[in-house]
């Protein structure tokens, strides 16, 4: 069982955990990404996420399929939040369940890393000082700052 979804409402991690339960599995690993109160030295008040959903869902499903095959996990899923988020909100959830713990940890780790780098999802930070900006985008117009992880990817 695998799924990649976007959620426009708060992510219900407890409900997702139940979907990962499987009698053939002895291990379950989950990752939750949370909204934190600072980034690159600036105090963050809230976040907005936006995605190009049709492509992100396709690419997200590819990430899950690759990791599931590589590690042989039974269940693997990811849900990413869209919209306006407050400090402490869950921005992304990844869950993996497999017969043994190691594969669950590894699959979970691979999925979150790939999701961050490959999917067309954007984050706008709103700062305590009233300013705001799209993460990784605002200084791109300046010379010699083109080191974006997504550009290196395939």
């Amino acid at each position: 069982m695998r799924f990649f979804r976007f959620s426009h409402e708060p992510i219900d991690c407890a409900a997702l955990r139940r979907e990962m339960q499987d009698p053939a599995c002895g291990g379950y690993a989950a990752f939750e990404g949370w909204v934190r109160n600072q980034n690159e030295g600036r105090e963050v008040q809230r976040l907005e996420y936006e995605a190009f959903e049709p492509l992100a869902i396709k690419e997200g499903e590819r990430i899950l399929a690759t990791a599931a095959e590589r590690y042989g996990v039974q269940r693997l899923a990811c849900v990413h939040r869209i919209g306006s988020l407050a400090l402490g909100d869950v921005a992304v959830w990844v869950g993996a369940s497999s017969p043994h713990r190691n594969e669950a940890f590894l699959a979970c780790r691979e999925v979150i890393d790939e999701v961050k780098h490959r999917l067309p999802i954007w984050k706008k930070e709103h700062y305590v000082d009233g300013d705001s900006g799209w993460v990784n985008c605002e200084r791109c117009g300046e010379p010699a700052h083109h080191e974006h992880s997504h550009v290196e990817h395939r």
Binding site: G33, I112, H117, L119, I121, W122, N136
Partner: protein, 302 residues
Amino acid sequence: MSPSASDKNRDGASAPLYGLVLAGGRSTRMGQDKAALKYHGASQVDWAMKLVAPYVERAFLSVRSDQAHDPVRSQHEQIVDTREDLGPIAGILAAQARFPDAAWLVLACDLPFLDAATLEYLLRTRRPERLATAFRSSHDGLPEPLCAIYEPASRKPLIDHVESGKQCPRKFLIQSDVELLDEPNPRALDNVNTPQEHGDALGALGAQPAPRNGVQPAQQSGNLEITVQYFALLREQARRRDEPVSTRAQTPAELYEELRARHSFTLPASALRVAVNSEFAEWSRPLSKGDVVVFIPPVAGG
């Protein structure tokens, strides 16, 4: 995750999926029957029935009782409205009454830009545990009720909606537990209501001269008609979510330079990726008429 037997009957995932093409409209603004209009070398009704067929177990045409025998409609298996003057919601109710255990892929018959990719996306991202799965309009962000999947569990609330004096299916979706999706192609659900829109649609589909023996008609103006969608920083700088573009650019690289000048984008192309028709693409890929292009600013998920 172990539904009881009674839950199981209501579970959209185990329900058969049937198709319903709505052709019961009165075409008042068009001045002639929309169902009979031709776009792809076939009447709109024949074309819509053919488009939906591969994805459903059975497909039906939704008609009013006085339309059942007209030549355009009579060649298809029909479900006749049982309530008059309710609009499209009458068609959905009649279909659910006849096959209450089915989930219904409902399509209006006046969507000449609808494509298989949009239907496939709807099916792939469908959430059968919700009452319906529908697209969010690229124009106003509200649900599009007439290219959507209605699960069996939506029948009772739909009846209640009508009983309470409401007949707008869009309002029903706004107020219900439904899954809303962004359209992979923002033009796919543009509908056609007037002779002017019909003419525009024919033009956009390149439908006037029938293609002759595979010979490409010479490009009259040299301009390509495509759609560009914007996200994040580019959306803010362009001050729009999408726009139709008529361009001489042959590749996404040339197109971006043209649009960068028009909208004063701060990001250089070297910081972006590009997608064409919802897949990552090369910057040098030739563009074709009708392509949907998205420039992807540096991403920051997670």
